[in-house]
């Protein structure tokens, strides 16, 4: 299954080298947004919100072919 993940803030470190802020590719099995977070190498503790195809969703939501997922961390003030 092919998905595109847009990564913001501290999550940007998980992006592919040639694509800052992006992880795009095949995921090896059916996943929820929560599975994807672990697959990318972090935990839900770092995630403030996720959206799939521009709609904010719970992390239990399943991913589908061609989905665009946005993952954002908590941001403070400054």
């Amino acid at each position: 299954m092919h998905v595109k993940v847009k990564l913001y803030g501290t999550l940007r470190r998980l992006s592919q080298k040639e694509k800052p802020g992006i992880w795009e590719g095949e995921i090896p099995f059916e996943m929820t947004a929560m599975d994807l977070i672990y697959f990318l190498g972090t935990t839900e503790k770092e995630i403030a919100n996720a959206s799939i195809n521009h709609i904010v969703c719970p992390l239990s939501q399943s991913l589908h072919e061609g989905d665009e997922i946005v993952l954002v961390p908590n941001i403070g003030g400054g």
Binding site: G9, T10, K45, A48, V72, I75, G77, G78
Partner: protein, 643 residues
């Protein structure tokens, strides 16, 4: 002049502009030990010297610039200084910290601070070159942009660092800012207008003693080396270096916390288009830094699109400016946002209050509470940056409709009435920055009780403290454990104002407060970023000053800062009734991820009451005599006891 004490000089420059007199005041070193510096030491003078009942534009208002013992030491995070005065925007305290290089330069010139009072008969600049201090005619500079003045002064004095008010300050726009070398700002509270009211355009500083004497250079070097080694691999700091504060636009919008359309919504459809990521690509975003700082998070942009062009002369927009000149005005293109930011900087306008005052006018126009008669023919609508660009000039020079807008949203709505007051989003007269409080109630409490009006830097923001931390992970910087040295161990929901949340807020306010009295940047340390720990911050103070101090004492300095500000405001007529939010934040959010969320008014009021109790203030929010004595500022009681 040889530095007298480790970390500081014990010398303050006094300038009376009415009689054009300059003098140097030796300061009892105990004052630095009690207050540390920054906002707290500035308030020591403001409280003692500003008479009750005066207007902010009265020559008797004091404008204080202050540093701390850490300013100018070779370490990331110390490149800030304070400006404080009676605010023309709120009628209470203006207390603002600014990054850059000016504060360090002032220390190099042999001074810890400057107190300015009186009013010059004509526009002047102050030139400080070590012991030589001159007051120079600046009338030929009247009306010129900050960039023009910077170029003119730099040609005559190439090595000076320059603080200046812009045309907006000269014209007493109530939210005029003070610019430091064009790219750093005392943005809030109208400090530029206080400069303008004194007929002071710029303060130039050049120092020859470029090494701050400190008690334990080796100790500081060890922390500096540790920080410099780790910041390169620290994910929060590395992304902050790459994108700056603007990295937050999309995450905050997705989380429903991005002020949009005059704080009606919390998510902006075009957040990506005005994000830091887009700015880097479209405007060739580069990084700049403050004095001796390795984080290097300042923006520098250039580019052109349509009628908008930006250059690197004024740096680039930060997160707050992008929100208030972008999403909150419905502007969906980053070059336009950057151009509006640049124009504000050139005119000396605070980007936050400027954007929020225009958004107030647009909403009122939409609701037919303002008409073309009021706007002098300007048709106001969202996402119309060309019109906003013209309005910026009108505000700064107080032409046409800009005359009304120059008063800020509260002032303008009070002059207009007709129900427009409801759409002026402000606390104590100051408009909120780019953080929607309906999804983080600690920020709501901070906005309400802040002594400077709505201010996002009263404490760290709630979402960071909603989960237990996990030190087993290398990359997890939302840890409560970082705050465990002060006894904060339990996660709390973001939309909560329980006793536990108020306690969290009080401790965080003390931590934020000691950052301000040390003029220390939150972007190097806990809890904004998990970099320097609370213990390391304490050690830095020890290494610089040689004082046998502690985290306890730093926390107390933050509490003292908050209480001094409260006493100052109390002296100038503020009471508990001023500690509240605009109605909009008590109403359900219109759109976005947090659609329908609101701040519970009763719970907030209960939280404010509890905050007073924890702070040792009475039900009117007035500091008690016992609390003042406990904070070693018992003298303050004489300033407020009769009120």
């Amino acid at each position: 002049m040889e530095q007298k004490y480790d970390g500081f000089h014990g010398r303050i420059l006094r300038v009376d502009l009415s009689i054009q007199k300059v003098s140097v005041e030796e300061v009892d070193p105990r004052l630095f030990r009690i207050y540390f510096g920054g906002g707290a030491l500035a308030m020591h003078y403001l409280l003692k010297e500003i008479p009750k009942g005066i207007d902010a534009f009265d020559p008797e208002n004091r404008l204080v610039f202050m540093t701390s013992p850490l300013t100018g030491a070779k370490m990331s995070g110390q490149g800030r200084h304070t400006a404080a005065a009676l605010s023309p925007l709120t009628g209470g305290l203006a207390d603002s910290q600014c990054g850059g290089w000016w504060g360090a330069e002032l220390k190099f010139a042999g001074y810890d601070g400057i107190i300015i009072h009186g009013k010059s008969k004509h526009l002047v600049n102050i030139l400080i070159q070590d012991d030589k201090v001159k007051i120079l005619d600046a009338e030929p500079l009247r009306g010129k942009t900050t960039g023009e003045v910077q170029e003119f002064l730099k040609e005559a004095y190439p090595s000076v660092r320059i603080l200046q008010a812009g045309p907006a300050g000269e014209n007493l726009v109530r939210y005029a800012c003070v610019s430091a070398d064009l790219k750093n700002f005392h943005g809030r509270g109208g400090l530029g207008a206080v400069m303008g009211s004194k007929n002071l355009r710029a303060i130039m500083v050049q120092g020859s003693n470029r090494e701050i004497k400190i008690a334990n250079p080796q100790g500081l070097k060890e922390i500096r080396d540790w920080f410099n080694k780790n910041l390169k691999t620290h994910p929060a700091i590395s992304v902050h270096h790459e994108l700056g504060t603007s990295k937050g636009i999309v995450p905050v919008s997705v989380s429903g916390l991005l002020p949009t359309y005059n704080f009606q919504d919390g998510s902006f459809k075009y957040a990506e288009e005005i994000s830091g990521e887009t700015m880097k690509k479209v405007l060739n975003g580069k990084t700049e830094t403050c004095y001796a700082c390795g984080v290097s998070c300042k923006r520098s942009v250039e580019g052109e699109k349509g009628k908008f062009k930006v250059t690197r002369q004024y740096g680039g927009p930060e997160y707050e400016s992008i929100g208030l000149l972008g999403s909150n005005l419905g502007v969906n293109e980053i070059t336009a946002v950057a151009a509006l930011n640049e124009r504000c900087n050139a005119l000396g306008l605070d980007t936050i209050s400027t954007g929020a005052t225009i958004s107030w006018a647009i909403e009122c126009f939409e609701r037919e509470l303002l008409t073309e008669e009021d706007t002098e023919g300007v048709k106001l609508k969202w996402n119309d940056p060309e019109t906003y660009m013209e309005l910026l000039n009108d505000i700064a020079y107080r032409n046409g409709f800009g005359e009304l807008l120059s008063q800020g949203s509260n002032g303008a709505s009070q002059m207009t009435r007709r129900g427009t007051e409801k759409y002026a989003i402000h606390v104590k007269g100051q408009e909120p920055p780019n953080h929607e409080p309906r999804g983080k109630w600690g920020v709501a409490l901070g906005y309400a009780v802040s002594n400077t009006g709505a201010d996002h830097l009263q404490s760290a923001h709630d979402p960071w403290f909603t989960q237990l931390g996990d030190f087993s992970k290398e990359c997890n910087w939302i840890d409560l454990e970082d705050l465990s040295p002060v006894g904060i161990i339990d996660p709390l929901p973001a939309e909560d104002i329980s006793g536990a949340k108020v306690r969290l807020f009080v401790y965080l306010q003390q931590i934020w407060g000691f950052h301000d009295v040390l003029d220390w940047c939150i972007f190097t340390s806990v809890p904004e970023f998990r970099a320097l720990s609370l213990y390391q911050l304490t050690d830095i103070v020890k290494h610089v000053t040689g004082w046998r101090t502690s985290l306890f004492e730093l926390m107390k300095s933050g509490e003292r800062w908050a209480t001094l500000g409260r006493a100052f405001n109390y002296k100038h007529g503020f009471t508990s009734k001023d500690d509240t939010l605009p109605d909009r934040f008590f109403e359900p959010m219109r759109e976005g991820t947090l659609k329908g969320h609101y701040v519970d008014r009763e719970k907030l009021e209960e939280g404010i009451k509890m905050y007073y109790e924890m702070m040792g203030w009475n039900e009117q929010g007035k500091p008690t005599r016992g609390k003042l004595e406990e904070l070693n500022i018992g003298w303050v009681w004489e300033e407020i006891k009769e009120l």
